[in-house]
Structure formats: structure tokens, C-alpha cells
Symmetry: C3
Subunit: 174 residues, 3 copies
């Protein structure tokens, strides 16, 4: 469970798979300054509950940042080799970028360029969303295409990749 | 494929992944008295067909129980170290509990408390449902949250956890 | 990454999981004559884009065949031990068979009978679609049942089975 210096850690999993808890344990085991980047927006009561639930579980000792869009910019500002930064999660970031009409390929390329240069240890959490029936609406199909492409890009730059199910991590890379 | 005494076996998989067949083979290899707990309700013709299909495949030698709600109570009544009990499946139990407005956390806690005490060997089958797009309706989102939480709870108490795809078991724990 | 002679290779994965790229690399590493079987129909602009995107990525050196329905018949015609044939993908074939009202069990049995006899090396790509919430409409439920059954049948006849996520192959068999 030690975090490698050689590159980011990507933690994929389904809804309520335990991927965030697993990632938090990786962070807490590192002994470094703990930073949490929440990409979710509290659009409604349900989302606010989920964010508060995560925050309560993390407990003391974390510095929390909220950044729905300019992820690379934020990561650059807090980049420090004495820190470990947990980004939770990439799929919410993808959702926000789509809603703002951002250039997805450019955003993904900027993240891909940043990852190998990062001095902080990065743990990137994301939802695997491509294993159900093809969604009926185009936007959902585009979303899972973007998420899938991003996962391939980030996995390629990552030192370790885990797939989490039922709270159990399966190492896919590293 | 031998079943451990040290705790339950959780078998996760998608629709038509072969998780039930795999579980049945585990049971049949045990040499113990074979008990089958069906949690599904035959709401309609389609569900009745699925139940009958499963029953026909199992063949002779099984004792079948139907219990949509009070799973722990049933498991307690048939608990015996000369028996192996296949529960098929946890996700249908979750559905039934939700429809009855049961206290999900309390039900899950009761199961979690029972599992380490069970004398029978338990094989618990469940559907992984959290790897698609976020469902549009709240009830479906709640369902997959409950299912995901239950999987984490049960996996933590299990001696072995398998993820089955295309009929092939991947050991996640044990 | 060498392709075995002992039977087909099944490559399962979600949407944009990198399963096609992985499969293409298997083919290109074989040194054999490269054949691509597209089962998708260009129903609309979106599908046409996806097909063209795949075709552009493959580049030179491939012979492309389009066959939405009579897959076994096509595979028989191009069957040759100096060839490797990539079928992309089984789930689109299932969709087309359903739309034409074909006898699914008979079609699957014919494929299952052909696979062990094939002289060409076969790489069969398919979408795992059974890991989300139960779909609300019956046709989608039937589709994922058919796909799941086909995956079990093909996996049983395959020498190797991979599950691909985030571009990373996880060997399930072989």
C-alpha cells in the first residue's frame, strides 16, 4: 500500500465500491501532507449529502480544495513533494467540463502533460461507467466515451492502477 | 474450488455472468447438504421464468427455500455445519427490503453480525450493478448505493470473494 | 502478447476501455495476414463516425470485411492458418441478430461449433454490458442476457480471455 514516487496512482471503481476509502487509506499511509481535491459541485441536496459524507469520513488532518474545472491549474499551485493529493473524482471533472463546453481533448492533454512532472504524489479516483447497457441519450454516451478515453490516458501515465470492487483492490498495473 | 470453513464466500458478477453456475459448482463440490435460498419474488412471468430456469438447472439433491425479506432469520433456522447454503441473490434481497421500506442499515448490520457466527458454509451471490452510467431516477441510485455498501460489508466478513465474468472467476480475496 | 494456436482469444471490456486497440496490437504482433471483421451497421452518423475512427486507427495492411449477421459463414470463407481475424464486435452482432429476429441459441451454437475448428487465429472483441442497473425495457434486458450467455459460450471455447479496463488487460483465462 505504499505510494510510489514514479507517477500517479489511478483508482477506478464503480458506485459505492469503496474506491474513495481505499484511496484515503493510501494517502494516510504516506505520512505526507494530505490534500483533498473535490471536483464535485453541490448542485442539489443529494450531492451536498454525498460531499458532506465524504468530508466527515476523512476526519482531521486534511486540507480540502474545491475545483470543478481548472484541475491542472489547482494541482500546479499545490504541487509539492512533501504532499500527497487525492483527486476525487475524475468523472465529476469530466461532467463539469462537458457542461461548460470545454475542449475535452485539450483538457485531457494538459492533464496528461502535467502528470509525469508532478512533484506531489497524486492519487486519482474515477468511476468506471462503461460496463452497462449503451445509454439511450447522446450526452450520456458522450460522457462515457470521454471518461473511457481519460482513463486510458491517465492509466498510461500512472505508476499504479487499481480496480476496486466490494472494497477490494485489484491491481491492474504496477 | 473447495469451500473454506473460515467464513462465507461472496460471488459477485454481472447479469448472465455465470455467477450462479459457478456458485452451484462450489456447493456441489462440498459434499455437504445442499440448501438453496431464493430471495427473488415471482412478480411477473419473466421473473417466474428466471426462477424456474435456475431451479431446473440445479437438478436433484437441493433443498429450496424462498425468503424475500427475513434472510438472517431463515439462515439462522437452517444453520448447521453439515450444510452448505447458497443465497441467490443479495441484490434481490436489497430490492425487496427497499420496497418494504425496511431500515437498510439495520438489516445489513444484522447480516454482518450473523456471518462470522454461521456454522453452515455460506455462498452469497450478488449482482455488481455500479459500473454503468449514473441512473436518472433516485430509486435506482439509492439501490446501487445500498448494493455497493452491502457488498463492502459482506466482502469484509468473507473468507473468499470472487468476481465472475464470462463464466470465469477472478479471485479478489482469499 | 503472442496469440496461441490452441483456440480463439476473447477480449471483453467496457465502452472506450481500449479493448479494440489491445486486440489490434495482438493481431499486429502475430506476423500473419490481418483481417478485420466489422459487425456494426452504419445506421446513423454517430455509428459511421465510430467505424471510420476505428478504420483510420488501424492503418495499412488490413483486409476489412463487413458482416452484420452471417458471421460464421464469413469466418468460414476467410479461414486460413496464415491469417489472424479480428471480429469487432460480438455485441453488435448480437444486436443485429435480435433486430432480424434470428434464433439466438442456434446462432450461438453454430459459432461455438466453429470456434474449435477454425484454422485462422481468431480475436473476438465484445462489450461487457451486464454490470449496470437492470435496464427498464425488456429488449435491453434480453440483449444483455444474450450477450452474457454468448460470452460464457465463447469463453469456454477460448484459449485466452482478457478483461480490459483503462487500456489495461487483465487475463481471466489462459
Amino acid at each position: 500500500m505504499s505510494i510510489p514516487h514514479a507517477g500517479p496512482v489511478l483508482v477506478l471503481g464503480g458506485a459505492r465500491s469503496g474506491k474513495s476509502s481505499f484511496s484515503e487509506r493510501l494517502v494516510e499511509a504516506s505520512g505526507l501532507g494530505m490534500h483533498y481535491v473535490a471536483t464535485g459541485r453541490a448542485w442539489d441536496e443529494e450531492m451536498r449529502e454525498r460531499i458532506d459524507h465524504h468530508r466527515a469520513r476523512r476526519g482531521e488532518g486534511w486540507t480540502t480544495h474545491e475545483e470543478p474545472l481548472d484541475l491542472v491549474s489547482l494541482l500546479s499551485r499545490i504541487d509539492d513533494e512533501q504532499r500527497v493529493v487525492l483527486v476525487d473524482c475524475l468523472t465529476l471533472w469530466v461532467t463539469n467540463l462537458m457542461m461548460e463546453g470545454r475542449d475535452m481533448a485539450a483538457e485531457f492533454a494538459a492533464l496528461a502533460a502535467f502528470l509525469p512532472e508532478a512533484r506531489a504524489r497524486l492519487i486519482l479516483v474515477s468511476n468506471e461507467v462503461g460496463l452497462g447497457i449503451v445509454p439511450e441519450n447522446r450526452m450520456a454516451r458522450d460522457f462515457r466515451d470521454h471518461a473511457g478515453r481519460l482513463h486510458q490516458i491517465v492509466a498510461e501515465k500512472s505508476a499504479e492502477v487499481y480496480f476496486v470492487a466490494a472494497g477490494l483492490p485489484l491491481k491492474m498495473k504496477g
